[in-house]
Amino acid sequence: MLRYDSSGKPFIIIRDQDQKERLTGSEARKANILAAMTVANLMKTSIGPLGMDKILVDQDGEVTATNDGATILKNMQVENPIAKLLVELSQGQDDEIGDGTTSVVVFAGALLEESLSLLEKGIHPSKISEGYEKACDIAVQHLISICDKIEFDKEDCSSLIKAAKTSLGSKIVNQYTDKIAKISVEAVLAVADLERKDVRFDLIKLEGKTGGTLGQTELIDGIIIPKNFSHPQMPKQIKNAKIAILTCPFEPPKPKTGHKLDIDSVKKYKELLEIEQNYFKKMTDLVKKSGATVVLCQWGFDDEANHLLLQKELPAVRWVSGTDIELIAIATGARIVPRFSELTPKKLGKAGMVTEKSLGTTDEKMIVIEKCSNTKTVTILVKGGNKMVVEEGKRSIHDALCVTRNLIKDNRIVYGGGAVEISCSVALNKASKEIKGIEQYSIRAFSQALLSVPIALASNSGLNSLEAVSEIQLKQMKEEKPFFGIDCLSKGTSNMKEQNVFDTLRGKIQQFLLATQMAKMILKIDDIIRPTGQY
């Protein structure tokens, strides 16, 4: 962007002026909207139970196959600033709700696409934003008015399982939805505090293992650590274990300050050796004396210590990671001990069973700690044919866990399969007729944009998308019921209540609010200044 003054002399106002370009006004808006639409179109094919997966290869050659919106966008490494905004949008939805990360992007893209024609009509972008905001308000009110409540308690969690199944429907695990949905719900209920409506996710551990099928995924009432006992001759199973958790290495302690030990005689050397050996003995004695039957150590120990531990019949695990140590401590009620001298019987944790198990035919082993005194820690062991499947399985289960958690927090639901979007769209169309002024147009545009999700859903399911959506629209209007949606799996009914397809109310509201917020932000930009040649 070279500028000239009135006498024709060029001047430089900003640094590297010749390397920067500038888009303004409608040109800038169009560029932004197009960027957003490109991202949204890319995501469209991943919506719904028949949505497709995407393979992403990062710069290290690591392959990820997924249809989780947030994961796709995160791994795409987009550079365009507007596309980046959409990535953060789906990330925001992921952080808050954990589900619906694809729809939120598709919806935001549709809102912007609709605004394009409004801009061409000459409506001021901030007017459009105001209209969208109003429309979003109406849509959220409508959502609250049509939502249903589901009931569940610790014994009867069938309704929660159904909700988890909807979330898993579009994922790679959909062959085994029944089993995995059940596992997810059980895991959440195990750690949930139903009274406070709080779920602590860090107490659920997701562990992946290649080998076997996704159907063999299991829920373990306890913790798995991918380690083995330090000596092959140690017992493989310990019942009623008392666990000592140590964060000090099994070796003579060293001062942290730099030091030098002068050994100038044989006598001194022998002395040192004796001290060291005594130390090992003292350590194992202290452990034994405390009554511990299993030792978990954050650090390593050498053969000498290992041998002594075997002699004293103390099965031990070395190099246990910090996070595992913490989880085990919480689960077994143990205290983490930093020095051998502080080890007392009170500080030991209790577990019903500690087993070393091997998996399949490989010599990979793992240690399972079950029946802990404080059962509030569970592990889901995800198995699958290859690493990609296991990783995608973990992500899917994470989504299902989030849905369950959200329902525990707020048990209001709305019907899926595009039913709510269509219902809101109908409601908005009705409402728009009573609103004066230009806002009417933007409200109608909002209602049109809402249909983008059911349309994508229908076309991914191989239906004639427009026909299917308009049919449902008609049906909803005629019968005035909000639970008709797209019958993606050809189950013969479009009644989502019967199909048990539903989303959480919180998640939907969040989607609407976030997408509207994003559309407003992008519409408000009318000037782009960026280095030339990029994007």
Partner: protein, 543 residues
């Protein structure tokens, strides 16, 4: 030989120098150029800018000072405009766009006079006079709010805050936010309010509506070691120890080396090191504190030690958060455990760790004194949050200013129109060139309402006509007539609650005049060649 005139080389090769009228006009052009970039952000319908720097970091903003800074201006004359935007930002916090736009317009108006060979100093003198008159007029007509009446006072502050937020992304939620901002500012010590003590924390995800104000201090969970999860996460009436001590088993003296002669001594050294840290930990526990916060890291040993005693700890807490806690509890941050007693421990009613979005936050509330508060800001994307933070900062600054000086004027171009009318009338009473120049200044003031209506997509000529007519015909009744954004027309903006602290306008007018005068008084720029260019020349010379 007598005709021979030697060339005198005064300046370094490559130095760029230009002077005279042409140069002055060129400077004005450059300033107007940058003002044109900025001016679309003015007013409630102002647009945002998306600026990407060469490292690919992009910012979306509507804040004049931020735009000016990100543009990375190198032109020396335009630099003055950047400076006034910055000074307005640090002085008042809001009105950064207006000040630049106004300065640019003064220059634009003076261009024709320069072309007609009016001496720049004459212009400067007249502008200074006009500026002085404007300031007097603002002080004269500003409406004083009743500080005694609590309710009225509060609502005035809220109105100022929401006017500052009008043009921003968060305008849709300005009611909730202005409430938060006013509460936050009022929580400060009324005698020495320090805006730094209001924390703004951004948490991605969630909707704007979920933002909230914590009447106390909140900060994100810090990095923690194993054992942290075993610590209790909720305390009622906890005792808080604020430290600046590293609680880790480490070498106390760096670069020191211990020489051990006797192997038996070895163990003693190890013990001594352990004792050092245990002594510190014991002292802290003895003081009765059950929450330990430190600016420096708290290691795994200490974490587990505290977990064992049901004490909560957090290391590497940010300095600003520590300062807030220190102010609100009225206790000093201790940098040694020697002589650490229960008197040095702060108190509050409730401390809780809460999940906000995907982050965990430690929230301290219920302090005896006031003095600090934290706004937790929610929103979809990082850039969105960053812009919201800037907008909130503006609003906080405005409220802060309004509290110190409770006079307000009406925004929406009303005050500018009134000043313009006043100057026009004043100009008629004087003789000479100044008459024209003061009228030009008066005309420059009109840029604010004109730009506001232009940005809103209104017919600005029509609106300006209405405003001028209103102000000139009935100066008393229509004193606060400004642009009506809602209904595309004019209205009494004082009545529609578009209020701005008069201090902001005072600063805007004097800063803009100063900048314009500075640009006008320059008749030569000597620019030394940059180091790179210099090298290039000398390289070429060697060839």
């Amino acid at each position: 030989m007598s005709h021979f005139t030697p060339t005198i080389v005064l300046l370094k090769e490559g130095t760029d120098s230009s002077q005279g009228k042409g140069h002055l006009l060129s400077n004005i052009d450059a300033c107007v150029e940058i003002v044109n970039t900025l001016k679309t952000t003015l007013g409630p319908r102002g647009m945002d800018k998306l600026i990407t720097n060469d490292r690919g970091k992009s910012t979306v903003t509507n804040d004049g000072a931020t735009v000016m800074r990100l543009l990375d201006v190198v032109h020396p004359a335009v630099q003055t405009l950047v400076d006034i935007a910055m000074s307005q930002d640090s002085e008042v916090g809001d009105g950064t766009t207006s000040v630049v736009v106004f300065a640019g317009e003064i220059l634009e108006q003076s261009r024709s006079f320069i072309k007609e060979n009016v001496h720049p100093q004459t212009l400067i003198k007249a502008f200074r006079k006009a500026c002085f008159k404007c300031r007097e007029r603002i002080k004269e007509i500003a409406v004083k709010s009743n500080v005694e009446d609590e309710k009225q006072w509060n609502s005035m502050l809220k109105k100022c805050a929401s006017t500052a937020m009008n043009s921003k992304l968060i305008a849709g939620h300005k009611d909730a936010f202005s409430d938060m901002v006013v509460q936050a500012v009022r929580s400060l010590d009324p005698e020495f309010p320090e805006v730094d003590l209001i924390g703004i924390k951004k948490v991605g995800g969630g909707a704007m509506e979920e933002s909230f104000l914590v009447n106390g201090v909140a900060f994100k969970k810090t990095f923690s070691y194993a054992g942290f999860e075993q610590q209790p996460k909720k305390f009622t009436t906890p005792k808080i120890a604020l430290l600046n001590i590293e609680l880790e088993l480490k070498n106390e003296k760096e670069n020191a080396e211990i020489r051990i002669k006797d192997p038996k001594e070895y163990q003693k050294i190890v013990e001594a090191e352990w004792e050092l840290i245990y002594e510190k930990l014991e002292k802290i526990v003895e003081s009765g504190a059950n929450i330990v916060l430190s600016r420096l890291p708290i290691g795994d040993l200490a974490t587990q030690y505290f977990a064992d005693r049901d004490i909560f700890c957090a290391g590497r807490v940010e300095e600003s958060d520590m300062k807030r806690l220190s102010v609100i509890t009225g206790k000093q941050i201790q940098s040694t455990t020697n002589g650490f007693t229960s008197e040095m421990v702060g108190e509050c009613e409730l401390m809780e760790e809460k999940q906000i979005g995907s982050e965990r936050y430690n929230i301290f509330t219920g302090f005896e004194k006031q003095g600090s508060s934290t706004i937790i800001l929610r929103g979809g994307a990082e850039q969105f949050l960053a812009e919201s933070e800037r907008s909130l900062h503006d609003a906080i600054m405005v409220v802060h200013r309004a509290m110190l000086n409770s006079n307000v004027v009406a925004g929406g171009g009303a005050i500018e129109m009134e000043l313009s009318r006043y100057l026009h009338e004043y100009a008629k009473t004087i003789y000479g060139k100044e008459q024209m120049l003061i009228s030009a200044f008066a005309k420059a003031l009109e840029i604010i309402p004109r730009q506001i209506s232009q940005n809103a997509g209104f017919d600005s000529v029509d609106i300006m006509n209405k405003l001028r007519k209103g102000h000139f015909e009935k100066p008393k009744e229509n004193i606060w007539m400004g642009v009506d954004i809602e209904n595309e027309g004019v209205c009494n903006t004082m009545k529609s609650f578009v209020w701005e602290p008069s201090l902001m306008k005072l600063n805007m007018i004097s800063a803009a005049t100063d900048a314009a005068c500075l640009v006008l008084s320059v008749d030569e720029t000597v620019k030394s060649p940059s180091l790179q260019d210099n090298n290039k020349i000398s390289m070429e010379g060697r060839k």
